[in-house]
């Protein structure tokens, strides 16, 4: 829905519900910063939003080439936003390579801003283009604005005495200034950011401020744009909000868990994309007593966390799929010695090194089963960037209450994607009770709590509790090394029962939408957004469709089997080859069908709509 007004200068201002904008350029063009700044500004204004940063694994591929293209997409709206958007309303392409890689996603008649100064013969050749798209009419279906971004930025900063290289680095702020004009947004927030970011380099503060101001003024002064847009604030539930990405939310969630449990947090980690930001963030929280240990490898990362947990800290390790593969044996040790531990796997495309910066959810089976022998581990998955905060707290709670390692499966999309997040009231955060064993009378290291089956947490330094644990099979109750056949079977079953029993301690699956009927969609992880968006389509209003989004993948909610049976069909969309659907079929004998996308990108709403239509039409 759009209403249009005309201002005194004869320019139109159109009010829209929603807009999707994408900044793309070379890896060195600062597109991630530009996108984040635009995001923060629309967030502060009160729009609901979702973002999709999309960058190459190479830090700086040769400038201007196709592999070097980096992009950042923001979907902002006065309505609820669940995805970064399938297609974009406005595309800012800083060079031919960026144009070539992104133009397919621009809506017909969409706004296209290109940097005219970067469309020379050499630039075109680097992008493997044979003709100049600005001249060859291939862009006729769009509203093309060819702007001399480089030249105009240089002109604006002429008097600063900076070298051309430094000046050219400011052209992303020129483009950002244009977008602020185009969407009627204040530049104040980004001014503040520039001031803080370059506080030690006053010349750059001035340069970036001036470049952005110049971009804004350019739109105002020239009549390039006859129209600008306004997207009113969204009706979010009352509260104080901030913008948050999944990795930030995880880091803060673990700090909150540490505070609520009254235990120090120890992170053992080895840098790996896309998980490293959690290490960076937690390393800064020394004021919370957080110990971060950048280990020599993935194995030392997890084992140091086990050592810290043995000593009574919250042991945490963060990684991605290849790293979790390396941690496998140590995770089995944590299962055997029954110590609390949290392992975060921020999934990326695989196998092997795969697509380090792209998203995928293909580590589910690794998380569930990827260890030698019977080594059950609870598995949780956040649904949105903000949910990562709650999942971190919940994983810690379960780990401590049940004395088990717990896996969190996030992914690259949640990790880097951002959304407005309502800041919780800290007095309302869940408690995480901790009980260290103190009583030496008849102490047995493997005597279990009858309810939770957890063994006592008996930390070194406690008088009278000296005892030995290890990876060899334990005798039930005493914890002594024991190889007896029946004891082994009993211990294997006890460890499994302990994890199964967590199902009593987690919420039931409650379908959103129809409680029974034609179709149930079951999902997990970051697919929550696009599925929710697809199900809002008018197309499905005559169908009885339910949606269960699983945050707990092991154990599954105890009523899930009943829910699955209430629908004629079950569809499980996943960014893998069908891992959850396999588990559901095996466990519940349900004829669920998968819908799989393995492109390193999240589902589009339109793709899901089509698939749902197709499934509904099946006999």
């Amino acid at each position: 829905m759009a209403t249009t007004t005309i201002n005194a200068a004869g320019r139109k201002r159109e009010v829209l519900d929603t807009a999707v904008i994408r900044f793309c350029g070379d890896s060195g063009d600062g597109m991630q910063i530009t996108g984040s700044q635009f995001t923060n500004t629309v967030a502060l204004y009160g729009n609901d939003l979702a973002t999709l940063p999309d960058f190459p694994a190479e830090i700086r591929a040769p400038a201007g080439t196709l592999p070097g293209v980096s992009g950042f997409q923001v979907h902002f709206s006065s309505q609820d936003v669940f995805t970064p958007g399938d297609t974009v309303d406005a595309l800012i392409a800083m060079n031919p390579a960026a144009l070539k890689m992104n133009i397919a996603d621009l809506k017909p008649n969409g706004i296209l801003i290109v940097n005219l100064n970067d469309f020379g013969d050499l630039d075109l050749r680097k992008a493997q283009m044979t003709s100049n798209p600005i001249e060859d009419h291939s862009l006729d279906g769009y509203r093309l604005f060819s702007v001399e971004l480089t030249k105009l930025t240089r002109a604006a900063l002429r008097d600063l005495g900076l070298d051309n290289k430094s000046v050219d680095r400011c052209k992303n702020f020129f483009a950002l200034g244009m977008c602020y004009w185009l969407y009627n947004r204040s530049m104040e927030n980004t001014f503040r950011w520039i001031d803080a970011k370059f506080s030690k380099k006053p010349q750059l503060v001035q340069a970036n401020r001036m470049a952005m101001q110049a971009g804004y003024s350019y739109c105002e002064a020239t009549e390039a744009f006859q129209i600008s847009y306004e997207i009113p604030p969204a009706k979010l539930s009352p509260g104080v909000y901030r913008n948050i990405s999944g990795n930030t939310a995880l880091a803060m969630g673990f700090v909150a868990a540490s505070q609520k449990a009254g235990l120090p947090l120890f992170l053992g980690s080895y840098p790996i994309t896309p998980a490293s930001d959690i290490l960076h963030e937690l390393a800064a929280y020394k004021d919370f007593g957080v110990i971060t240990f950048q280990a020599e490898d993935e194995i030392a990362a997890v084992t140091s966390a086990i050592g810290a947990a043995y000593g009574g800290a919250i042991g945490l390790t963060t990684t991605s799929g290849p790293g979790m593969a390396l941690k496998t044996e140590a995770m089995g040790l944590a299962v055997a010695v029954e110590l609390p531990l949290v392992i975060c796997d921020i999934q990326r495309g695989g196998p092997s090194t795969g697509l380090p910066t792209k998203t995928e959810q293909a580590d589910l089976l690794q998380a569930l089963y990827g260890r030698n022998s019977e080594a059950p581990i609870p598995v949780l998955a956040p649904a949105t960037p903000g949910d990562c905060f709650w999942i971190a707290m919940e994983a810690t709670r379960i780990a401590i209450k049940y004395m088990v390692p717990v896996i969190i499966l996030s992914d690259g999309y949640l990790a880097n994607g951002a959304e407005p997040w309502k800041i919780p009231d800290i007095s309302q955060l869940p408690e995480i009770p901790v009980k260290f064993e103190k009583n030496p009378v008849d102490f047995k290291p493997y005597r279990r709590d009858p309810q939770t089956l957890a063994r006592p947490w008996a930390v070194p330094g406690t008088p009278g509790l000296e005892h030995r644990i290890g990876g060899l099979e334990k005798q039930d109750v005493t914890g002594n090394v024991n190889y007896e056949p029946l004891n082994h079977e009993r211990m294997v079953r006890l460890r499994a029962q302990k994890v199964e029993a967590i199902a009593q301690d987690i919420p039931d699956a409650v379908p959103v939408g129809a409680d029974s009927g034609d179709l149930l969609i079951v999902s997990w992880g970051s697919t929550s957004g696009p599925i929710t968006a697809a199900l809002r389509s008018e197309k499905f209003k005559d169908h009885k469709i339910g949606h269960v989004h699983l945050r707990y993948l092991n154990p599954l909610p105890k009523n899930l089997g009943d829910v699955l049976m209430r629908y004629d069909k079950v569809l499980v969309p996943e960014m893998n080859m069908g891992q959850l659907v396999m588990v559901l079929r095996a466990k519940y004998l349900v004829d669920a069908q998968g819908y799989n996308k393995i492109q390193g990108k999240p589902f589009k709403t339109s793709e899901l709509e089509r698939k749902i239509e197709q499934v509904l039409a099946q006999e």
Partner: protein, 342 residues
Amino acid sequence: MATETLPVYTKKDFQTDQEIRWCPGCGDYAILSAVQSVFAELGVRRENFVFISGIGCSSRFPYYMNTFGFHTIHGRAPAIATGLKVSRPELDVWVVTGDGDSLSIGGNHTIHMLRRNVGLKVLLFNNRIYGLTKGQYSPTSEIGKKTKSTPFGTTDRPFNPISLAIGAEATFVARSVDVFQQHLKETLKKASAHKGSAYIEILQNCNIFNDGAWEDLTEKDARSEHIIQLEHGRPLIFGKNKDKGIRMNGLDLEVVQLGNGITEKDLLVHDEAHPRPAYAFLLAHMEERPGFPTPIGVIRSWENFTPYEDLINSQIREVQEKRGKGDLEKLLRAGDTWEVRA
């Protein structure tokens, strides 16, 4: 906290009720006995001792020590112990490992623990063989050694554990022998007093798969000719008649016969605390050379480098003093926020 007097411990207080499952005659028994005796004298409360081990015969050690103990996975004991020590620096954490565990599968963790100087005491049981897997060669097996996995002799050049530890910037490196009980106990005490990583190679016999591993050094008659006992501040003298010494010759060491104008004054005086590792390297490589003795005792003990756990924890304290203790409310509300009103 109330100060409690330290109980008087005896060796018995450190024995467990577990049946010891090493082969009869194994050198590990002697090491266990020495450790149990020494622990009674260290002035540390029993509940503050922790033994962490990896995998292998040696790594069963914690089951037989009545302290806190954690038998972990192959090669990873230094990393697990690091996590424990940095989060609980007040504990007295000991690592028990073997030549395969520490120098093969756990080589990476060993060198990084040493370069960080984590305050861990590491007992490396070196028997130059894989015992628990029944007789394959290890990274310290001598070249050409015939074992189950090398029927025609090994072609691997072995590690010299002392040299490796010094190369990894270890601040305390020592060597002792399973059967030299008194020497072993003294060495353990010195290691215990060291601030930072202490790496002790204990030459240990595997009477099943590598019997006589160190016979050259332990045979009563040969002992004094083949071993030199290092003592800080004392000249390097060895031999049955204390008539051989070691002196510098250019950038190298040489063995000399005392007499004929050569006196103790010409010999090198052992300086375990020398700030640079070059001298320790020379000592480490003596044993490979014909006519040179194998040094035992403290090869290097250098305390001018703060232990890792102290650096980590003092950094946390400094930040807390500067910023104040973390406030969760402030953390969650950091950066740009906006309010949506009802």
